[in-house]
Symmetry: C2
Subunit: 360 residues, 2 copies
């Protein structure tokens, strides 16, 4: 029994799992039908969402970690039976190229670091999952896509909602024109962030409500129309200027689509809100919430509802994406999809800065 | 029995009303504890809403009509027992000054005519009810207020929603800061208008979605904050340019309030939508619908609901306003309140025309 097997067995024993209840992984060791994922960045999202989800996935497992905080390492190793050889710092991260147990590097860092780590991962020959927002600029997104292509690896964006059957139903209803074309919609996403020292509040780290929450409002509008916006009119505001010194606490922005459809969007770190209301030519659809971790649901003008069960969004996202890698199939949300949103995000910030209409 | 009494008795008989079921008015004739209202303009709103409501009012009754369409006269006289002497055309309208049975003139015409008829009514010594939008410009509103003051008559705006207990509950919750101050809100109002020849589609008559439906979105935002907006950013659009040649089919507009609160508003003649979502500092309130003729209702973050019964908005509005006249009390929505909204409407149109931020 090597160190990893020992730790895993200990954890299984500690959890009271025996016999048939022992996960397949423990009995079979590492299998090639499960891809090994290394999480880069062990903040809240990795700790509370992705790592637990990786205990539920069929097509992948948590194989390694990359962190700039040494104090986190032993806890993660104990909890998830991660061997020393699969633990990296930000400085020796590129050595991951030599680790056959790591198939995928999942970048879960502040947005300003996405490009660098995604490109380094691709250059190390690893497939790349990258959290949203994909990067700071369209140019960064393009360099990530280019790095993946040059290294013949895959690049997917962590758009968990696109793997949620509730959102997929919304997409399908819109795409299939159940109620005709969309005409006017409102999509908003926000939460109240009580912190004053988070990366979300620092421009240099990729903060700002549009990048973090506005992405969901943009996604909802793009899903409704199946189009890319051609103009943006945006206005930023804050109720806590001492905290939101150089990023937007709240953004209101209007999108125009080629078909003539219009969207009114809002994102915020100041208020809890998460809904979308779409008026199509011959009916309406609303979801509340539409982009949360669970409970997304909707109803429509024909009285029908959208309310599918999904056990775990992030697990389904990673399983879907790993299945696509193993089958050489398409990603639901490849890098090109992430880039489309960043193009809008850039326009929103440009409009807010110039207080004028920005055409894309 | 004079002509009016004869007609009324005939109508009562035709309706199968006898004995104690006969309305008080029939037995007692015109009483001074009911104010006589003359409706100016016999379109849909007078025909389908106000006249029926005036059969339910306690403090007023339908005493006269003013119309530019002679063909409508006999039907209205028959249906509502209106004597010849209480029927006016637009040209002899000023003679209403000599008619003691008319206490109030209710202007229910396309908005571009509001100012002229309201001023003429005031100069005739009559109290004035005026439908929303109050007028085309702030200047017109001011001249209406001045005319009422100069003639020592009262001027109320037909803001039926402000008489609806559901909206009053929303106002009170906002005013009393049940959830703290409002931070961010969305309020929208629209309907699909299939017509192509309505005054709503003609700028010269006071058309445009902001004047007709946007008023409700503006009211909702002003009620939440208890403040007047200080800036507006607006964008007009249409999906039917052949019909909406010189007015907005749809308007998206953002309001900034002195406290820092922000509103995202939409109005439209292209889609059915009627909701408001308010995020306060410590909770939220939503209403859907929030400005319809009936069924306005809401819920809140504390699990409580707003769902009061109201038999007839317009009847309550006119009864409230007539009670205020008789008691020399305050109107819920005097001319000054109508003017506040027109100030915002003007700014919305100016912003849409200049594609830039307009400060108020």
């Amino acid at each position: 029994m090597n160190r990893r097997e020992f730790l895993f067995a200990s954890a299984v024993a500690a959890a009271g799992l025996t016999g048939s209840a022992v996960p397949a992984l423990a009995k079979q060791g590492r299998r090639r039908d499960k891809l090994g994922i290394a999480l880069v960045g062990l903040g809240y999202y990795s700790t509370d969402l992705l790592a637990p989800a990786l205990q539920l996935t069929k097509n992948c497992y948590l194989a390694g970690i990359v962190t700039g905080t040494p104090a986190k390492i032993s806890k993660w190793q104990m909890k998830y039976s991660i061997p020393d050889k699969n633990v990296y710092s930000y400085s020796n991260f590129d050595d991951i190229a030599n680790n056959p147990e790591i198939d995928i590097v999942y970048v879960v860092m502040p947005p300003s670091l996405h490009r660098d780590f995604a490109v380094r991962a691709a250059n190390a020959g690893k497939h790349v999952f990258c959290e949203k927002p994909m990067a700071m600029t369209v140019g960064e997104c393009e360099s990530m896509i280019a790095a993946a292509a040059a290294n013949k690896v895959r690049l997917a964006i962590g758009y968990r909602c696109q793997h949620d059957p509730n959102i997929q139903a919304y997409q399908a209803i819109s795409r299939d024109r159940k109620f005709g074309a969309p005409v006017l919609l409102s999509s908003v996403a926000g939460f109240y962030d009580p912190r004053s020292n988070n990366w979300r509040q620092v421009q240099a780290l990729g903060g700002g409500s549009v990048r973090d929450m506005g992405i969901y409002a943009i996604q909802a509008a793009r899903m409704a129309t199946g189009e890319e916006p051609v103009s943006v009119l945006a206005q930023a505001s804050t109720t806590r200027p001492a905290i939101y010194k150089d990023v937007d606490e709240t953004m209101q922005f209007l999108l125009e689509f080629p078909s003539g459809a219009r969207a009114s969007c809002m994102s915020s770190f100041g208020v809890e809100m998460n809904y979308l209301n779409v008026n199509y030519e011959r009916g309406w659809l609303r979801m509340n919430p539409h982009s949360q971790y669970n409970g997304n649901k909707g109803d429509m003008s024909d009285g029908k509802v959208i309310d599918f069960f999904i056990a775990n969004q992030q697990a389904k996202q990673m399983d879907d994406d790993c299945a696509a890698i193993m089958s050489r199939g398409k990603f639901i949300a490849p890098g090109e999809e992430g880039l489309r949103d960043i193009r809008v995000v850039e326009a929103v910030y440009r409009s807010a800065a110039t207080r004028g209409l920005v055409t894309i």
